[in-house]
Subunit: 336 residues, 2 copies
């Protein structure tokens, strides 16, 4: 049994179906181009809670429940939950799991959480340790701004390189067997740090990691970008996407035809004032669930590569002058 | 192939050897009862770095390198690194991986990281995705006090229920096959929250989670505590250990004979002023590596259960009046 493909990639012995994907978002996301596609849009981005942090956890709870329901399962069918978020000590994930008495693996890969979760979840299911694993990722614009940059009340001006953290959560159920769409391969990322220090330019910080994982994926699977109908990175935005196209061209790969970024898809650049685009753990998770998953199910997309991207820093490391490492995990999904 | 044992436990098809375990600690740990057993004791708990946070990352780096070396491997033999720590956004793990270009899964389970890492690592290796996985966990007393409680410069008095975060890092290489000691089973924890709010009484916050996982482990494996030569929780300290003994007695299990806590083993209660004992991600990881692993190798211990425990909260959730959820993962290890 050799499931390994080079240093970073694996394939699977079993057919691993993404049995459902769910998206629950706030009002700003609802006003964007994917508005009608989300499972739930909440006008109140606080969800009736007392704090942004509690709201982030509540978004995750709703997404986990929705994904379970859409997979026609109940909570007791779920064997593991693998979830992550952006809050210090991943409190959104931990806190919401208080109400879900299920074996839990907390992950941290910043906004790459959805990709890391799909990767680990695939190994858990293919390894024979579970039939159903629930994966989730959440973020909240207000909580993220407060934690990573400035309190919103300060009214700071956001530079044009900055991205807008998606308020919401995405979740998916990964199941053994089933009718697809299938996770067919995973390329796990390495930490890449090219020396970017600007907490308002996460796209540039993460782009080299995305390119590194993409290059490894194509090389180890012996593919070129045109193997896929869609290639979507997680939350690089316009700034980061452009860098990926350039970096990949240096490796000899043409990314000009079928490559986009979830942070570009989720907001309208002209009307929503999000500058470089969307970001946050929820960006790739909700965009996948709302935009790509239904097209994989319908057959409109036959093969896609999703590469959730994460910028690994905190306010203190930034204040200490540290650079921002990035990571990206690629998940190859094929329709039924 | 049924590797599942009840809702939370799994066994493995392959023999999974813990090929090495390494411990690198600071001066206070070096002065404790395990002083002579650690691989490296550093008089300078800053390790020559400019900040506590950078020092924590450096401890992790040294432990990861030491474990690799002790397993007689080189960095390029390692297929995945699974690591976690206590810093906001797990920066110790992410930052040290900048210098180790290896596929990386960042985990967050607070001080349960070593258990979560062993659990996921075992599934990755047994699932056929790697022959060698490197697992690491780090913490630093000064960085943790600053982040979770009060700046040290404030000179705050620590209550008697408080534990002392271990400064250092532990790491282990998990390999396919080999001569043991073997990971023979894993019981993955659920989030348990019994309403404790005191950030200076983590032992009480985590004890119910430890008892929950222990009860599930014994029930699902059909064992009683006397199956093991040693049962060691991660970092409950004296306060939490006593609670576990009581809670398990209510479940009908006698934990009075062979049960201890790594936080009790690592410091001397009378002379080291650590009050309830040791804590932090490094507590179970370094105690396992220094105290138990060599005895498993020598055959002095035939079977042990290690249950790293984590308290899942941050300073802000605490200020918002939230309680402290706990989690614990049990790993059953048997000698060659």
């Amino acid at each position: 049994m050799n499931k390994k493909l080079g240093k970073q990639s694996v394939t699977f012995e079993n057919m691993l179906t993404i049995a459902s994907a769910a998206s629950v978002v706030g009002n700003k996301e609802g006003e964007g181009p994917l508005g009608a596609r989300f499972d739930e849009v909440h006008e109140d981005a606080m969800l009736g809670k007392d704090s942004w942090e509690q709201a982030e956890a509540e978004f995750l709870k709703k997404a986990l429940e929705k994904a379970t329901e859409k997979a026609r399962l109940t909570q007791s069918d779920i064997e593991y939950v693998v979830a992550g978020d952006l809050m210090n000590q991943s409190t959104s994930s931990s806190f919401v799991l208080r109400d879900m008495p299920l074996p839990f693996f907390g992950i941290f890969g910043a906004c790459s959480a959805f990709g890391e979760g799909l990767g680990l979840g695939s190994m858990i299911v293919d390894g024979g340790f579970a039939k159903h694993v629930l994966i989730g990722a959440a973020s909240h614009f207000c909580a993220a701004e407060k934690q990573f940059r400035f309190p919103l009340e300060l009214g700071g001006q956001r530079p044009l390189t900055s991205t807008w953290t998606v308020t919401g959560a995405g979740a998916a159920v990964l199941s053994l067997g089933g009718g697809g769409p299938y996770v067919r391969g995973v390329t796990t990322g390495k930490i890449i740090d090219m020396g970017i220090k600007d907490m308002n330019n996460m796209g540039a910080a993460m782009a080299p990691a995305a390119a590194d994982t993409l290059e490894a994926h194509f090389r180890e699977f012996g593919r070129t970008p045109d193997y896929y109908d869609v290639i979507a990175t997680g939350d690089l935005g316009y700034v980061g996407k452009e860098l990926v196209v350039k970096l990949m061209a240096e490796h000899g790969y043409d990314m000009s035809k079928n490559y986009t970024d979830c942070g570009i898809e989720i907001y309208d650049r002209d009307s929503q004032d999000t500058h470089s685009g969307g970001s946050g753990c929820a960006c790739s998770a909700t965009t996948f669930a709302a935009l790509y998953y239904p097209r994989l199910v319908s057959g409109e997309i036959k093969r896609m590569l999703i590469i959730p991207t994460g910028a690994l820093a905190n306010q203190m490391t930034s204040q200490q002058g540290e650079t921002i490492p990035g990571i990206a995990h690629a998940v190859a999904i094929e329709g039924p």
